[in-house]
């Protein structure tokens, strides 16, 4: 059974329609990535799925009792609000101190339990957000540009973490990403959005689609080529080391 079934969805703010006729399904264990330029309705789509924006048309059906782990684009914690990492971990779910500790260990940020959230670095903060989203073993993880504000190695490490999570727990992942090269390596399916679904399919298919190239231009093609090159070389290195 599909976890998320979006049919014929339109979303409008007043007279401004930001999404038209979007169809989208996510099956258990799948990694689906949404790409698209600024203002293409990526975040609106995610907000419609969690029920924060009512659909103007069409429907969003979630599997009954679907457990969602949500990692927002930005989370600002006001300086006036004292909250430790441990307390933040059980913001919406019951969890013991040990469960929180294990989740943080798994996320690669041990020993933070008693720190204040406002004292964390950007990378630590994002990893705590991810650990919190995972604490209740969700069926699906929703990530809205979760690596915004992280540097290249930081976001690469973050996405490796997500692949590990999928491998270990088998939870599905629906994410918005600007890191196109990451998208191409980690996703099962890519959806290219620009107010409507321009094209979708395997990463390789989308990358070669004319609609995608029209949106992201030749520069991206170059970056992709570079990345693939890197990727091959990396494997060669490993092979050499093994010999």
């Amino acid at each position: 059974m599909t976890l998320i079934n979006v049919r014929n969805l339109s979303v409008a703010y007043g007279a401004n329609t930001v999404l038209r006729d979007v169809d989208l399904t996510v099956s258990p264990g799948e990694i689906v990535t949404i790409v698209g330029p600024n203002g293409s309705g990526k975040t609106s789509l995610l907000r419609a799925i969690i029920g924060a924006t009512p659909p103007a048309q069409g429907s969003v059906d979630l599997k009954p009792q679907l457990k969602i782990g949500y990692v927002p684009q930005r989370l600002h914690i006001d300086q006036t609000l004292p909250i430790t990492v441990e307390r933040f971990m059980r913001l919406t779910d019951r969890a013991s101190r040990n469960t929180c500790k294990d989740a943080l260990d798994a996320a690669g940020v041990p020993d933070l339990l008693d720190r204040q959230m406002t004292q964390l670095s950007g990378g630590q903060f994002q990893r705590v957000l991810l650990a919190r989203a995972l604490i209740n073993s969700p069926d699906i993880l929703l990530l809205d540009e979760a690596t915004q504000g992280l540097d290249q190695p930081g976001s690469a490490a973050f996405y490796r973490q997500i692949e590990t999570v999928r491998a270990q727990t088998g939870c599905a992942i629906l994410m918005i990403s600007h890191d196109l090269h990451v998208v191409m390596s980690a996703s099962d399916r890519v959806i290219c959005l620009n107010g409507h679904v321009c094209c979708q399919g395997t990463p390789a298919f989308v990358a070669s689609a004319p609609e995608y190239r029209a949106l992201f231009g030749a520069g991206t093609g170059g970056a992709l080529a570079l990345y693939r090159h890197d990727h091959d070389q990396h494997h060669d290195h490993n092979r050499n080391a093994a010999e």
């Binding site: 969690i50 029920g51 949500y70 989370l75 006001d78 006036t80 004292p82 430790t84």
Partner: protein, 265 residues
């Protein structure tokens, strides 16, 4: 025991302080400080209307404060700058209220009692209303605590976990109106916001989690009420303002201790 006006006043002060503490934390976290002011100022209009229609003060103030809070919440969602909106609403409501009071011919009302409160005149019935309102506010906030906290941190995060941030906002608004309505007798319109914000702001210095902040704020509010009333009795000063002064001194002292503690040696 309740025959003594000082005992009644102290119990009234503690009741308001305990309701104002957790609510005040949300007011501080959500940067709604002027929201409290606006709701409180609208209460004067409520007093005028209650007197005009010969109702008791509590339902009149509650209704006007609630309408005010709902109107502000609605308008704020439509792109008005919040501080401008509150400035317009708060002072218009206060002005209309004062003008409306002047039309009430034949009734001499002591406006000062509503602006600055008259805690020493608290009756047994008032006490019942105050503690009933306080229990309701504390109950509502405790019941919705997780949802309120999640919505305060991030609305989308709350949605994803099945909370409705608009409903949580409505509950806060309702609590604010109830608190204003019960506190008007104790500290008066002009100082209600102080009782909401100062204990919470002082508690921030010493707290590590949202729950401890609310608890410490309640302790600070209670101490302020007890010490303030005693001080007012001894020094022969107005009771409401003296309570707020004690809270302000606690705030200053806690911050002073923190700054000294952080100074490199």
């Amino acid at each position: 025991m309740l025959d003594d006006f000082m005992t009644r006043a102290t119990l009234a002060g503690i009741g308001v302080a305990c309701a104002a503490a957790p609510l005040g934390c949300f007011v501080v976290w959500r940067r709604m400080a002027y929201f409290g002011d606006a709701t409180a100022h609208a209460a004067i209009l409520g007093v005028a209307l209650s007197l005009a229609f010969e109702l008791s003060i509590f339902p009149g103030v509650l209704a006007v404060a609630l309408i005010m809070a709902l109107v502000v919440t609605q308008l704020a969602g439509r792109g008005y700058a919040m501080d401008t909106l509150l400035g317009v609403m708060a002072h218009s409501a206060l002005a209309f209220g004062l003008v409306a009071v002047s039309f009430l011919s034949g009734i001499r009302i002591d406006l000062m009692a509503y602006l600055f409160g008259d805690i020493l005149a608290v009756s047994r019935t008032d006490l019942l209303v105050i503690w009933g309102g306080a229990a309701l506010v504390i109950g509502l906030i405790t019941w919705r605590w997780s949802g309120l906290l999640a919505s305060t941190l991030n609305e989308d995060l709350a949605h994803a976990s099945g909370f409705d941030p608009r409903r949580e906002q409505l509950i806060l608004t309702l609590c604010l109106a109830i608190t204003v309505a019960v506190a008007i007798k104790v500290v008066g319109v002009l100082l209600i916001a102080a009782l909401l914000i100062i204990p919470a702001a002082a508690a921030r210095v010493a707290a590590r989690t949202p729950e401890t902040m609310a608890a410490i704020a309640a302790v600070i509010g209670t101490v302020s009420a007890v010490v303030g009333l005693r001080g007012a009795y001894v020094l022969d000063t107005p009771a409401g303002p003296t309570i707020v002064c004690v809270a302000a001194i606690i705030f200053a002292a806690l911050n002073l201790v923190r700054f000294r503690g952080h100074r490199p040696t």
